[in-house]
Symmetry: C2
Subunit: 337 residues, 2 copies
């Protein structure tokens, strides 16, 4: 099937770019030194592909549904909920039914009790500078003690320098990682365990002293991460159709809008025209100086999302293409909660 036969809007994945990204990462962070983060793509089939091509067998997710889906499909043997949860029953069911080891991040006595009650192992989640989850480093040891006293295995620590991963200046990322990891090392000394789980796509190669990096965006990428000096290629685009176009009026309209793109990092972009604005199911584009005329009604236009994670979460499937040929279709089966 030709990609232009697909109904639009539609997520299109360049199989060669994806393959490049998988291999580039695995060459530097092979096997268990990478824990691919499924929140960025929410597809069991893509996770399975990464496992089979690159040999990573540890995965993490941000929701219970992501882990439940991986476990049910038998993808990975070491699954981390890189997030706090209070859903004891669901976590217990997951622990009992999964063929994989189940670990969960904890940052409070409440979340420790949930994890221990469910029979999950834990990583103590430490605040390393991003104002989100994570205990203050001084509390990490006490949480580990509580977990052990309740019978839970404490595998180590987790610290996500999310305030650093998007900085475009590599030296600023290096400096930020060092500051964050100094905090995490202090906590790790008090916690013990073998795992130090950190980072993201923007800091993928800045973590020699940690045992594993959590990265997911590197697989599909977006224009926000493309501003950084990373070796990963944009593999994800949205294929849209021009539904209205008039040189007289001065703009054309694509059939993909606010319900096709996560908008928190800004508008999507197109190669040859300027995005004017997005509305629910439309994006209006205008010509640029020296650029081509507006595309005609019926033409296909590729759009690049600014933020991959909340973009994928709107869609039902990822369509893999080799040039214009559709080579596979992977359901986005892990969305919602």
């Amino acid at each position: 099937m030709n990609v232009h036969e697909l109904a639009t809007p539609c997520l299109v994945v360049d199989a060669a770019a994806l393959d490049h990204n998988v291999r580039t990462m695995a060459a530097v962070r092979p096997g268990r030194s990478l824990r691919p983060h499924v929140k960025a793509f929410k597809s069991t089939e893509l996770a399975r592909h990464v496992e089979s091509v690159a040999g990573h067998r540890s995965f993490c997710g941000a929701t219970l549904r992501e882990l439940e889906g991986l476990a049910a499909a038998g993808v990975g043997d070491d699954l981390l909920l890189a997030n706090e949860t209070l859903s004891t029953d669901r976590l217990r069911t997951l622990v009992r039914s999964a063929g994989a080891a189940i670990t969960v991040a904890v940052d409070s006595p409440e979340t420790v009790r949930v994890a221990a009650g469910a029979g999950a192992s834990v990583l103590v989640d430490v605040d390393v500078g991003l104002p989100r989850c994570g205990c203050v480093p001084e509390d990490a040891g006490a949480l580990a003690d509580l977990a052990r006293s309740l019978g839970a295995e404490v595998r180590g620590v987790m610290g996500y320098e999310g305030h650093v991963v998007g900085r475009t200046d590599r030296s600023a990322r290096i400096e930020g990682v060092e500051r964050s990891m100094a905090l995490l090392r202090t906590a790790h000394e008090a916690v013990g365990g073998e795992v130090v789980s950190v980072g993201g796509t923007g800091t993928w190669d800045l973590h020699e002293r940690s045992t594993e990096v959590q990265a997911g965006s590197y697989l599909l990428m977006d224009t926000h991460y493309a501003r950084l000096d990373l070796p990963f290629r944009i593999a994800l685009e949205v294929e849209a159709t021009v539904v209205s176009s008039s040189p007289l009026r001065g703009w054309a309209v694509l059939d993909a809008g606010l319900k096709s793109f996560g908008m928190d990092h800004g508008d999507p972009t197109v190669a040859d025209w300027q995005v004017f604005f997005c509305s629910d199911e439309h994006t209006t584009i205008v010509p640029v100086d020296g650029g081509p005329p507006l595309p005609p009604v019926g033409a296909r236009v590729r759009m690049r999302p600014a933020h991959v994670d909340p973009t994928v979460a709107y869609h039902e499937q990822l369509v893999l293409v080799d040039g214009e040929t559709v080579v596979d279709t992977w359901p986005v089966d892990l969305r919602n909660w």
Copy 2:
């Protein structure tokens, strides 16, 4: 079931507020003078509820899937695709299988040919000031002539003053509607037909001279429309759980973020705290002067979306509540394309 037993994040609809909104609209725009726009809620069951309570039998949607779902469920007898489409085959199948009349917006010779080829009736979509779909008014007559020459019924005109509906100053909305409708009247004279389909929630009561208003946001509302002096109440919130909280640290974290909210109109809000920022599955909140202390881990917090349409499109269901009691659950079955 109590609402606090639901897994979070979860869309919660206040049944009394929804009922107020349905009746307030129907009192001013009864029956066919309102064409509820399903793009704002994407739920067949909510459309069926509006039909049964208020008696509206004309509906519109922005996607073929929305119309296909309504038609399959037998909701409404007059369905308008208030958007341009190039999908002749799907439109033809819809026309043949639907028990309802099917009409589609057209703004170019190409979209006229698609509509006529599929056997649909048409409204000529006219640019009345929003830089999106819609022909220039001078072209409307020729498009109507083309449609009739191809055997399509021309029911009238459509003009959406989307650049006006969000203005907070009512007199500015009145003035904007008058300017837009003057353009539409010129086009209507050239097009003919009985239907003049216009407007949205923000201009719901400013269209005495049009035959029908397209409005959908009035049913659930959001904080963006709540800035206007409208009689509709916010009926939609996202129920979230506090997964991390520390007075020492100075913030708490909710388990609903960028994948729970359309973000183009800005951050969601919470009643008693300030939203600091959203990330994929989290929102960090901080105290406000004179406000309550941070909520503890495990507490439930209601969040209000800034833009209803792309918020609902992330979720699988709408949970109706009367106070804390769950009274019904309606699937968001019309999302995607």
